[in-house]
C-alpha cells in the first residue's frame, strides 16, 4: 500500500550531516549526551507544568473538601470561603477541579498505556516480521486511521446504556480507536532498524525473534515510544473530555469534561460564571501543552535537525575585518595565465560550542581556464572552502579573515566577501557556478528538469523570450550529451549519471567563468565517471571556463588538473603543478596520498602520465581501475 506518511517519520529523514570538517571531530564523547534531552527552556517548562498538574491531581483531592456538597451559595465568584467560587448548586469549584483533574489524569494514563501497547504490538511486530503479517497489520491500522475516531466512540457509547458505561469501557474504547497513528510511525522505524547490520547479525546468529525484538530493536525505539505515549495521553484526555462534555463519559466519573458538561448545562455561560468553565479547560490545555513541550525535547533526540541552532539560513556571514587584507602572493609557481579568482589568507571557523578552525589561512590562485585540483580526505575542509568562496556557508560557519577576489572578464575586480543582497544574488551562477557533492540530490524532485534549468534564465536574464530560454536549455543539455527530450522529465526518471550531466549543463547555462565541482563523480560508477570527466575536459577546452575540482581521489586529479592543492586539517600543505606534485611530492602527506592508491602493476611508476601534453593530445592513461579518460586513448 502506498500510504500517507505521518508528519514526521524519523526513519525517512536522513540524519543531519554536519558540515564537512565541523562536528565530527568536535565532539569526541558527545554521543551519549546527545541521547539525553537537552535542558532547553521548553523541556523545563513542560516538566514543571506536567509535574505541577500531576501533583495537584495526586494530592489535591486529599486536602479539598467534598466536591459534591451542595450549599445555598449559588454562583459565588472566587473569594473567601470558595477560592475558585461555587457552581449553580453551590458546590466548591476548587474541590471539583482537584477531583476532576485526578479523574482526567487517571483515564489519560490508562488509555495512554493501552494505546501505546497496542500500537507497539501492531507496529513493531508488523514491521519486524514483514510479509503477510505486516500487510494485514498496516492495512488494519490505516483503515482505523481514516475512520474518524470520535464519531465511532460516540456511536459505541450511545449503544451502551449509561448505567453500564464504566470507567474501563470508556478507556478500552478510546484505546481501540486511538492506537493507529502511533503504530504506523513505529512500523516505519522498525523497518529501518530491521535492516541495520546488528539486527541482521543477530538474525544470522540464530537468535530467537522475540529476543531480537526485545533486545536489539525495542531499546532503539524507546524515544519514539515515549513520544507516542505522550501523544496518546494528550489525545485520550482530550477525547475523554469531549465525550464527557457530551454527557457520554463513564457514569459516576468526575473528570474535567464532566465539569464542563455541568457548567454548560448549569448556564455558566449565560450567567458569566467564568470561574466555573475556565479552570477545567485551562488545566487540560496546560497539561497538554506541558506534554507537547516534553515531546519537543524527545523529537529533538530523534531528529537532531529540528534542534534550534541560534542562527538560521542567513547568507554566509563574514566577520568584520575579514576582507581587505591583501593576501600573500600564491605559493607555488606563479600562474602563467591571468587570474580569475584569488583567494588569500582565508580562514573559516565554525562557531560551535568548541570552535572548529575548518579552513586555515588558505591562499590559492585560479587562472583563467585552468583546472585547479583540490585534494584531501573527507573532513579536511575542502568543501567548507568551496562553500566559503561562493558565500554559501551558513552559520555557525563564519569567514574570520582573508579575502576572495574575482577578476571579471571586463577587467573589474569583485570583492566576493563584500557582496551583499541583490549583488551577491546576481553574481551567483552568472560568474561562478557549482556542481555539488550530493549532485544526485541536487535536483528538486518535484519539478521538471526544464523548470529547474529555465528558472536560472528567468531570474538572471529577464530579457530572454520563452523561445530563447527553451533553445538555451536544449543547447546546454546537448553540450553534455543529454537528449533535450529529457527536459520534460522529472529527476527520478533519470539515471545517476544523467542527473550529474544535467547538473553540469545547468552550471554552464549562464556561461560562467568559474565552475566549482565538489566530488562531482564520486557516487557514479567508473565508466560513467570517465565519460563525464572527458566531457568536462572537452567543454573546458571549448568554452574556456576555469574549474576548481574537489575530490579525495588524487590520481584522478593528477590526470585532470593543471595545478593541485593538497589540503590537510584545513591547511594547504602542498600547492603546485600537477606534474611536479606527481614526480616530486614535497610534503609527506602528499606522498602518503599518492601511495594509498595502489596500481595493478605494483610500482608507483605505473602512472603513465605525461603532464599537460598528454592531456591535450589525449593520451592519458591511468592505472588500476580507471578506464581511459581521453576520447582518443588507445584501447
Amino acid at each position: 500500500m502506498t500510504n500517507p506518511v505521518p508528519l514526521s517519520t524519523p526513519a525517512e529523514e536522513p540524519a543531519a550531516a554536519p558540515p564537512e570538517g565541523s562536528g565530527t571531530r568536535a565532539r569526541p564523547h558527545g554521543a551519549w549526551r546527545a541521547l539525553l534531552p537537552s535542558r532547553s527552556p521548553k523541556l523545563i517548562t513542560g516538566l514543571i507544568l506536567v509535574t505541577a498538574i500531576g501533583l495537584l491531581g495526586l494530592f489535591g483531592p486529599m486536602f479539598a473538601g467534598d466536591p459534591d456538597a451542595i450549599s445555598d451559595a449559588s454562583f459565588q465568584p472566587p473569594g473567601e470561603g470558595a477560592l475558585l467560587g461555587t457552581t449553580q448548586t453551590g458546590q466548591d469549584v476548587l474541590a471539583q477541579l482537584l477531583h476532576a483533574t485526578r479523574g482526567s489524569l487517571q483515564i489519560g494514563l490508562l488509555v495512554g498505556v493501552m494505546a501505546t501497547v497496542l500500537s507497539a504490538l501492531f507496529g513493531i511486530l508488523g514491521g519486524y516480521f514483514g510479509g503477510v503479517v505486516d500487510e494485514s497489520f498496516s492495512l488494519l491500522s490505516n483503515v482505523m486511521l481514516v475512520i474518524p475516531g470520535l464519531p465511532l466512540v460516540i456511536v459505541i457509547a450511545g449503544f451502551v446504556p449509561a448505567a453500564d458505561r464504566g470507567w474501563w469501557t470508556i478507556a478500552v474504547v478510546l484505546a481501540i480507536t486511538g492506537w493507529a497513528a502511533a503504530s504506523r510511525v513505529l512500523r516505519a522505524q522498525t523497518l529501518s532498524l530491521r535492516s541495520r547490520d546488528y539486527v541482521a547479525a543477530a538474525r544470522v546468529a540464530g537468535e530467537k525473534p522475540w529476543r531480537i525484538v526485545s533486545v536489539e530493536i525495542l531499546p532503539n525505539l524507546l524515544p519514539l515510544l515515549a513520544s507516542q505515549f505522550v501523544f496518546a495521553v494528550i489525545a485520550a484526555i482530550l477525547a475523554e473530555a469531549g465525550l464527557s462534555f457530551l454527557g457520554l463519559g463513564a457514569s459516576n466519573s468526575e473528570t474535567l469534561g464532566t465539569m464542563l458538561y455541568y457548567a454548560q448545562n448549569g448556564f455558566a455561560l449565560q450567567r458569566e460564571a467564568w470561574w466555573w468553565f475556565v479552570p477545567p479547560g485551562l488545566v487540560i490545555a496546560l497539561f497538554g501543552c506541558g506534554l507537547a513541550l516534553i515531546n519537543f525535547a524527545i523529537d529533538e533526540i530523534i531528529n537532531p535537525k529540528l534542534r534550534n541552532t541560534r542562527a538560521g539560513l542567513a547568507e554566509g556571514g563574514v566577520a568584520a575585518g575579514a576582507a581587505g587584507a591583501p593576501g600573500e602572493p600564491a605559493p607555488g609557481e606563479p600562474a602563467e595565465r591571468p587570474a580569475v579568482l584569488t583567494i588569500s589568507g582565508l580562514n573559516v571557523v565554525y562557531r560551535t560550542a568548541r570552535p572548529v578552525h575548518a579552513v586555515k589561512d588558505v591562499s590559492l590562485t585560479l587562472g583563467r581556464g585552468e583546472i585547479l585540483g583540490l585534494a584531501g580526505e573527507s573532513g579536511c575542509g575542502k568543501t567548507t572552502l568551496a562553500y566559503a568562496v561562493s558565500r554559501l556557508h551558513t552559520p555557525p560557519a563564519e569567514i574570520s579573515s582573508g579575502s576572495v577576489t574575482f577578476h571579471d572578464r571586463d577587467g573589474r575586480d569583485i570583492d566576493l566577501l563584500a557582496l551583499e543582497g541583490e549583488e551577491l544574488r546576481g553574481f551567483r551562477w552568472a560568474k561562478l557556478s557549482l556542481v555539488f557533492q550530493g549532485a544526485m540530490n541536487s535536483l528538486n524532485p518535484v519539478i521538471s528538469i526544464r523548470e529547474q534549468l529555465a528558472d536560472v534564465l528567468t531570474t538572471h536574464r529577464p530579457g530572454m523570450s520563452a523561445e530563447q530560454r527553451r533553445a538555451r536549455c536544449a543547447e546546454v543539455l546537448r553540450l553534455v550529451g543529454v537528449d533535450p527530450v529529457r527536459l520534460d522529465s522529472f529527476p527520478h526518471e533519470l539515471s545517476g549519471g544523467m542527473r550529474q550531466r544535467v547538473m553540469i549543463a545547468m552550471a554552464m547555462l549562464l556561461d560562467p567563468q568559474v565552475m566549482v565541482m565538489d566530488e562531482p563523480t564520486t557516487a557514479l560508477d567508473v565508466v560513467v565517471q570517465r565519460g563525464i570527466l572527458r566531457e568536462i575536459l572537452r567543454l573546458r577546452g571549448e568554452l574556456g571556463f576555469a574549474v576548481v575540482f574537489i575530490t579525495h581521489d588524487l590520481p584522478l586529479l593528477l590526470e585532470l588538473s593543471d595545478r593541485i592543492a593538497v589540503m590537510k586539517d584545513g591547511e594547504v600543505v602542498e600547492y603546485g603543478p600537477a606534474e611536479r606534485l606527481y614526480r616530486a611530492p614535497e610534503h609527506p602527506y602528499t606522498r602518503m596520498l599518492l601511495d594509498s592508491f595502489p596500481s595493478l602493476t605494483g610500482a608507483r611508476g605505473a602512472f603513465l602520465r605525461d603532464g599537460a601534453a598528454a592531456r591535450h593530445d589525449g593520451r592519458t592513461a591511468l592505472p588500476g581501475q580507471h578506464t581511459h579518460l581521453s576520447e582518443g586513448a588507445p584501447r
Binding site: V146, L260, Q264
Partner: protein, 329 residues
C-alpha cells in the same frame, strides 16, 4: 494509473470496514435495541409496520433466527440503496432526509474552516521554518497551547467573550430563526454571521498542528541539496523558499491529511454542540440522547464517507503534485 487504482482500492476497503463495524457494533452491545426503538416509536404514536421493523432488525440485529450472513448481505444491500431506516426522534422522517438537511451546514462550515486553517498553517509554517532562529520561533510553543486546548472549551470561551460579554456575535444557532432558509442575501448573510464563531473555533484549534508539521518539514527540506543548489543558482529568496523548500516540505503535510482531518472532524462535532449549530454533529447527539440508533448509525456512516472522500481527493491531488508517486515502484 496503478497509484490511483491502489488508492481507490484502499478507500473501498476502508468503506467496507466502516460498514461492517456499523453492522457488528449494535449486535455486540448488551440489550435489545430494536425493542427499545419500537417501544419508543409506539410512545410517539408511530405505527409499527413490518417493513420498518425489518429495516431496524437488519441494522441493529435481533433474535429472528436468521443467519448472520444473510442479515449482513441484506444490510449491505440496504446501505447501498441509501436506505438508512426511519428516524425515531424526528418520526416519521427517513434518516437519509434528516441527514440531508443537516449535512450542508457541516460540510460548508467544517470544509471551509479546514481549508482556511490548512492554508494558514502551511503558509505560516513555511515562513516560521524558513526563518528558523528568529523571533518567529516563539510562535511554536504558542501553537502547542492552542493544539492542546479542547475544541469545545475554546468554543465556550469564544462564546463567553464575543457573544455573551461583547455581544458581537450570536450565542448559538446557524441562522436567524425569523428568516426562511433559501438563496437570498438576508438568509445567507445571517448564516455567515452565525458561522463566524464556530469557524473561528475550528481554525484556531487546528491551525497549530498544520503549522508545526509544516515548520518541521521545512527545516528538514532546507538542509536538502536542492535548496543549496537553488541558492547557489542565485534565485530570488522567495522562489527558493516556495518552489524548492516549501514545495517539497508540504508533501508530508498533505500525506498526513488523513490523520489530521479525523481530529478536525471529531472536534467540530463537539463544537457544533456548543453552538447548537444545525449540523450533523448536533443531529448525532440528538440521536444518541433519544436512543435513535438508526440516525446515529446513519450519521456515523455519512461522516465516515465524507472523511474518506476528502482523503481520497487529497490522495489524488498528491499524486498530481508529487511526480514520484505516478511511476510504478
Amino acid at each position: 494509473m496503478r497509484y490511483y487504482a491502489r488508492k481507490l482500492g484502499f478507500y473501498l476497503v476502508a468503506l467496507w470496514a466502516a460498514l461492517t463495524l456499523n453492522f457488528f457494533i449494535p449486535r455486540m452491545m448488551p440489550g435489545n435495541p430494536v425493542d427499545t426503538l419500537m417501544a419508543k416509536l409506539q410512545q410517539r404514536g408511530g405505527t409499527v409496520d413490518p417493513a420498518a421493523r425489518r429495516s431496524y432488525e437488519l441494522l441493529l440485529g435481533a433474535d429472528t433466527g436468521e443467519p448472520l450472513i444473510i442479515q449482513y448481505f441484506a444490510y449491505l444491500g440496504n446501505m447501498l440503496r441509501g436506505d438508512l431506516g426511519v428516524s425515531v426522534s424526528v418520526f416519521p422522517a427517513e434518516v437519509s432526509s434528516v441527514i440531508g438537511q443537516a449535512l450542508p451546514w457541516t460540510l460548508v462550515l467544517v470544509g471551509l474552516a479546514t481549508l482556511l486553517s490548512f492554508a494558514l498553517g502551511i503558509v505560516l509554517g513555511a515562513v516560521v521554518g524558513w526563518r528558523r532562529g528568529s523571533w518567529l520561533d516563539s510562535l511554536v510553543p504558542a501553537t502547542t497551547v492552542l493544539a492542546a486546548v479542547p475544541y469545545f472549551w475554546l468554543a465556550l470561551i469564544l462564546v463567553a467573550v464575543f457573544a455573551t460579554a461583547l455581544g458581537w456575535f450570536p450565542l448559538q444557532g446557524g441562522y436567524d430563526v425569523v428568516l426562511t432558509p433559501g438563496w437570498n442575501t438576508g438568509f445567507l448573510g445571517s448564516a455567515v454571521y452565525h458561522g463566524m464563531l464556530p469557524a473561528l473555533t475550528i481554525v484556531l484549534s487546528s491551525v497549530g498542528g498544520w503549522l508545526l508539521g509544516m515548520r518541521n518539514m521545512m527545516v528538514s527540506a532546507m538542509s536538502e541539496d536542492y535548496v543549496l543548489t537553488a541558492r547557489a543558482k542565485g534565485l530570488r529568496t522567495t522562489r527558493v523558499m516556495t518552489r524548492y523548500a516549501a514545495r517539497n516540505a508540504v508533501l508530508p503535510s498533505l500525506a498526513g491529511f488523513a490523520i489530521s482531518l479525523g481530529f478536525v472532524v471529531s472536534g467540530s462535532i463537539i463544537t457544533e454542540q456548543v453552538f447548537s449549530y444545525p449540523g450533523i454533529g448536533s443531529k448525532l447527539l440528538q440521536g444518541v440522547q433519544n436512543n435513535d440508533y438508526a440516525l446515529m448509525q446513519g450519521i456515523f456512516l455519512v461522516i465516515t464517507v465524507a472523511v474518506l472522500g476528502a482523503n481520497l481527493v487529497v490522495d489524488l491531488l498528491y499524486g498530481f503534485i508529487d511526480p514520484r508517486t505516478r511511476v510504478e515502484t
